[in-house]
């Protein structure tokens, strides 16, 4: 398959079942809401090293937030409900509670509940106040700028993590520019986050390593500087590859986001140096979800 001169490889992205939750962070203005959200999701690129994968889902206008202040929606993904709960509480406590003027609310209501303010309330040292409003419990924790308001729990749901595609281009600049376009297109969509820096990964990995202590190592087949040394997947015209990883609340969300991203990449076309779009997988034996690029793009062709 080719789109605008870009080869779409007949392969698939392999993704995994995860647990996810959504929270809404509000603050006195959008700057401080985003500050808290970025801090919370800053070191949350991969469950392997960070315990959780997280990102900003969207900006929420004042009219749609519980307390009528500007808000940011954040999605967090963990490999288990327990891992997710631990990271949610730790990150809310260290990154949102500490951030001036913020409040935090559940972004999901139905399903198994994860503690949000339930345990953080003890920071109030006995001066915390509970309020039951419209059937939901909130905690008001006294802090130095007033009160930190946190909803007691937020729900979690099943999710899909690790949807991906690789963008191969003649130069690093061309690959990056195309990926930036893809990120912009994908971040417009609901229910997905791109957990890596700026939404883009340059250090794609393979399973295993020659070093016993590492469970993953560099994806040598796509490293241009290893061409000639390993069984490279890069042709002579390709100078760089970048990956976009997407996590979503369900299979359809991930598929839709991948389609939007690949479409944006292909819009640049071969004329702007994009040579190929591929995807990362582990032979199909590890992940429950397979996103075949040709099927994902089915609507386009």
């Amino acid at each position: 398959m080719q789109i605008n001169g870009v080869v779409i490889e007949d392969t698939f992205a392999e993704a995994f079942g995860m647990k996810a939750t959504r929270i809404v962070i509000t603050a006195v203005n959008r700057h401080w809401a985003r500050q808290a959200a970025e801090t919370m999701t800053g070191f949350a690129t991969s469950v392997i090293g960070c315990g959780v994968e997280a990102g900003i889902e969207n900006e929420i206008p004042e009219t749609q937030t519980p307390d009528g202040r500007p808000g940011i929606g954040v999605l967090l993904f963990g490999m288990s409900g327990k891992d997710l709960a631990k990271q949610l509480e730790r990150r809310t406590g260290q990154c949102v509670l500490t951030c001036p003027t913020t409040a935090v609310f559940a972004g999901m209501q139905d399903g198994e509940q994860l503690p949000l303010g339930k345990n953080l309330r003890y920071f109030g040292d006995g001066y915390q106040i509970s309020k039951l409003i419209a059937g939901r419990r909130y905690w008001r924790v006294p802090v130095m700028d007033g009160e930190f308001l946190a909803e007691e729990t937020t729900a979690r749901c099943g999710a899909v993590g690790g949807g991906n595609f690789l963008v191969l281009a003649r130069t690093q600049e061309q690959a990056l520019a195309a990926c930036e376009d893809a990120v912009i297109a994908m971040r417009r969509l609901p229910n997905v986050v791109l957990p890596f820096p700026g939404g883009i990964v340059r250090s794609g990995s393979k399973v295993g390593s020659r070093y016993k202590s590492l469970m993953a190592s560099t994806n040598d087949a796509y490293c241009p500087t290893l061409r000639g040394l390993v069984a490279s997947r890069l042709d002579d015209a390709t100078g760089a590859a970048l990956e976009i990883v997407v996590n979503g609340l369900d299979e359809q969300d991930v598929s839709t986001a991948m389609r939007a991203g690949i479409r944006a990449v292909c819009a640049r076309g071969a004329e702007q140096g994009i040579t190929r779009v591929s995807a990362g997988n582990y032979g199909g034996k590890l992940g429950q979800f397979h996103f075949r690029l040709h099927e994902v793009l089915g609507a386009l062709t």
Partner: protein, 272 residues
């Protein structure tokens, strides 16, 4: 089929109306309803001696009650579901310990309205007597859930020993509002008598204006900006309709805390 009970004469003694619930009536035929025993004091008599029974099209869990005066006590006691409409005045202990459903009183109600209420919605178009939502004698807790909405005025000790839920008084209220309140939210839109919040341990009194006198163990906490207030005001507006206490939720509100003679974690918020 909903049931209409039209009172045909007044009585010198008060009538215990507990047990006359829409769910129970829905399962009975009109003759059985007419034979339900009522009590005037300790004197039993069939319902038909005091009420005309009509069945009309409508929701099966609805009871329309047309009293001649406010002599019917304990209307809707223990209500769990369904709807009772009182087209007139209700007596004492209306909605006593109700757990769900709706009671609408289109007139006034007596003392201890909503006493020990656990859930549901109780609205009164007129005024209520003293001790609205308060516990019955020997009980430790008053209102423990649900909504009591009084569109008129309330007597003294409204919200006494309230534990949970929401009470909204659109009009004025007497002394000792929220007396010994344990928790919950009590919103008074009109004038408030003396010693509001006296003995309160936790909970929120939301007032439109500063009471004339607060107890010496209710202390000034200064003006505060409270993010939860927007949520609370929205919820009150959604559940009671009409204008909420006029307040810019981004502005600061005057806050008092207490009662320091008790747990001291209650608050009085004045939104003037």
């Amino acid at each position: 089929m909903s049931v209409i009970l039209r009172q045909v004469r007044s009585t010198r003694q008060r009538i215990d109306f507990s047990g006359i619930l829409p769910g129970r009536l829905a399962a009975m035929n009109p003759d059985d309803i007419r034979r339900i025993p009522l009590h005037l004091g300790n004197h039993p008599l069939p319902l038909a001696e005091l009420f005309e029974v009509e069945i009309q099209d409508g929701p099966s869990d609805e009871l329309l009650l047309l009293p001649v005066d406010g002599g019917l006590d304990q209307i809707g006691t223990g209500l769990e579901n369904g709807r009772i409409i009182v087209d007139g005045d209700a007596g004492h202990y209306t909605g006593r310990a109700m757990r769900g459903g709706i009671i609408e009183i289109r007139g006034n109600a007596g003392d201890s309205t909503g006493s020990g209420m656990h859930g549901g919605r109780l609205s009164i178009d007129g005024n209520v007597g003293a001790r609205t939502g308060a516990p019955a004698a020997g009980e430790r807790r008053g209102q423990q859930g649900g909504l009591i909405h009084i569109r008129g005025n309330a007597g003294e000790r409204a919200g006494e020993r309230m534990r949970r839920g929401l009470m909204v008084i659109d009009g004025d209220c007497g002394d000792l509002l929220g007396h010994c309140m344990i928790a919950g939210t009590l919103c008074a839109r009109g004038r408030v008598g003396e010693l509001a919040g006296h003995g309160m341990r936790r909970g929120t009194l939301l007032l439109n204006r500063l009471p004339p006198a607060l107890g010496s163990t209710i202390v000034d906490n200064g003006r505060q900006q409270l993010p939860f207030l927007r949520l609370l005001l929205n919820d009150i507006q959604r559940r009671t309709g009409g204008p909420v206490i006029a307040a810019d939720d981004r502005a600061t509100v005057q806050r008092y805390v207490g009662d320091l003679a008790c747990d001291g974690r209650g608050e009085i918020l004045v939104l003037d």
